[in-house]
């Protein structure tokens, strides 16, 4: 029956036949691609989700081994947890503020006036990745004045250095995508000073670059262990390691929650960014 109908269509109209066969074959091809993509996605998702699920299942249990949300409430009560969270948050905000205030004008200046210096910048900003954290902290310790040594913001200053490679690369890509010279000159000819050029013209157009720089910095501060612990501060990663609870569940749960929070922030930023993109493209 189906073949009869098909025959009718085929005889009936050349054009119909052609579109029919073309759309059919392209649909097949498309389906195959979608299958390939689906499999890859599935494998990748499994790779992340299975350990995550296992860890969650492990941590969200009461002492009888049944599912329970009770460990969640225990987190907040765990000794020093809230102060560690607060410290990490403060450090993250300070680091982001310092690194952006330092890097945004510098990068704009370098892109505009010293494009050849970009090579040098690239090399300099990669150094923090190459230098082991221990070397860094020992070096810093040797040169910091005493009043700063006791401050938690010394840690923020060190994180600024560590964040430099990521911030540099995000901003470099963002600035490279703009016609910086023309935008700046257009704004200046309209009477704009440097502050309003940066604030009203460049920052809004660098939004996705700034967001990705911020997220990477945030992730860095919330994940860095070595330097924080050597410098004697109980940030979240240090707390997870040292947690004065005897409860491995809670520690795992905190790690999972940190992961989850990062995911949520990332997704928020991506969707934010997509909205601004759909407005622009």
């Amino acid at each position: 029956m189906a073949s009869l109908e098909l025959g009718y269509v085929l005889e009936g109209d050349d054009e119909v036949m052609e579109t029919f066969s073309r759309s059919n074959s392209s649909k097949l091809w498309f389906r195959r691609v979608r299958w390939g993509r689906g499999t890859a996605l599935f494998l990748a998702a499994a790779y992340f989700i299975i350990p995550f699920y296992a860890a969650m299942q492990f941590s969200l249990q009461n002492k009888y081994g049944h599912f329970s949300l009770q460990p969640l409430t225990q987190i907040a009560q765990a000794p020093l947890f809230l102060s560690a969270l607060w410290l990490s948050t403060q450090l993250a905000i300070a680091t982001m503020a310092i690194v952006l205030i330092l890097m945004v004008p510098t990068m704009i200046y370098v892109h505009l006036r010293m494009p050849r210096f970009r090579r040098v910048m690239e090399v300099i900003t990669i150094l923090p990745i190459v230098i082991p954290p221990i070397v860094l902290i020992v070096g810093v310790d040797g040169v910091t004045p005493l009043w700063l040594k006791s401050s938690q913001y010394l840690l923020a200053l060190i994180y600024v250095v560590l964040a430099m490679p990521y911030v540099y690369r995000s901003l470099d890509a963002g600035l490279g995508a703009l016609d910086l010279k023309t935008l700046v000159e257009a704004a200046r000819s309209l009477g704009s000073g440097w502050v309003s050029i940066i604030w009203r013209v460049l920052v809004p157009n660098l939004r996705s670059a700034l967001l990705s720089a911020s997220v990477l910095t945030l992730a860095l501060v919330f994940g860095e262990f070595t330097i924080a612990s050597l410098d004697g501060w109980t940030t979240i990663p240090v707390w997870i390691y040292l947690a004065p609870t005897n409860n491995a569940r809670i520690n795992t749960l905190v790690a999972m929650m940190a992961l989850l929070a990062t995911c949520v922030v990332l997704m928020l930023i991506v969707s934010f960014d997509r909205k601004s993109h759909s407005r622009r493209n």
């Binding site: 016609d179 023309t182 935008l183 000159e185 257009a186 704004a187 200046r188 000819s189 309209l190 009477g191 704009s192 000073g193 309003s196 009203r200 013209v201 809004p204 157009n205 939004r207 407005r279 622009r280 493209n281």
Partner: protein
Amino acid sequence: MSMDTQTPPSTMTDVSPPKTGAPVVFENLTRRFGTTKALDGFTLHIEPGEFVALLGPSGCGKTTALRVLAGFERPDIGKVLVDGRDVVHVPAQKRDMGMVFQSYSLFPNMSARDNVAFGLQLRHQRSTPRRARAEELLELVGLAEHTTKYPHQLSGGQQQRVALARALAIEPRVLLLDEPLSALDAKVRAELRDQIRALQQRLMITTVFVTHDQEEALSMADRVCVMSRGCAEQIATPAELYSRPSSEFVAQFVGISSRVAVVRTGDSVALFGRDLKIRGQAPEGVESLDALLRPEDVDVVVASTGLGIITHKSFLGATTRLAIGIGGAAVKADVLSSTADVFELGTRVDLVANARDVLVTASRPAT
């Protein structure tokens, strides 16, 4: 200086205050980039409200001259006077120059209206009159329906019109246009050309327009400054430039394409068997002269005993351009395409000069 950038809002609300722009003087400007001299003793006086085109080949320093006036480049030597005051040390953001760039320069994060209102916002104009003013200007450039669109939603021609409205919004003392039409297609280009000229006449704003297209320069400007290697080669009205180019360089730039050796008798020369008056001043004390011809100065007649042979033929639309070898010279001539069939390659032809007078110059020494 910062005070007079704040024009009171009351004068900003009407669209076309008939006012005269500022006079501009470029005086003996020199600007080097490494070893290249982008400007080399460039001098040009512009009257208030005048539309001057800078015309010249690529790399002759047109953009540099404009950027010096806008404040984006400092000259090594020389002065730039706007309204009689030297502005060389005034930063660009305090010069009140409206500039339209060759590349698209709208702020991508702002709608057309916000782009136009940007300069007004910097001048602390309140948001309601600011928006009204921006919309008026967009209407003026024919974009009344596109005020809320973002740059990526506008065509190239529309973007350049928004850029023009944005530059006009601040009521600039001088309007600077750096090849604003070069990225557009021919039709939009011609349309915008007329629009810019009409607006400029209406606002009587001093305007400097950079182009390398002679047709654009001749059709829009009050005066054209032909530039070569960083200095002004000739500054003249389009009509004068067309009929009396002062040098061979300028001549080439205004459509002269052929030169033919001629014999002089008094104040006329013999060209293709006819006597023609010498236009303007003939070079003194020079015996061997060349006549300078445009393709439309010459008629072509098929003749089996003709001295010329057609060596090349190209279709240009309404006309067809022929290249004719005659007595060692190559002459270009235009014929109507409807009659071009008879002119085959290799056909023998005679040439007839159809002008009453002719430009001459001293012959080039044989090389």
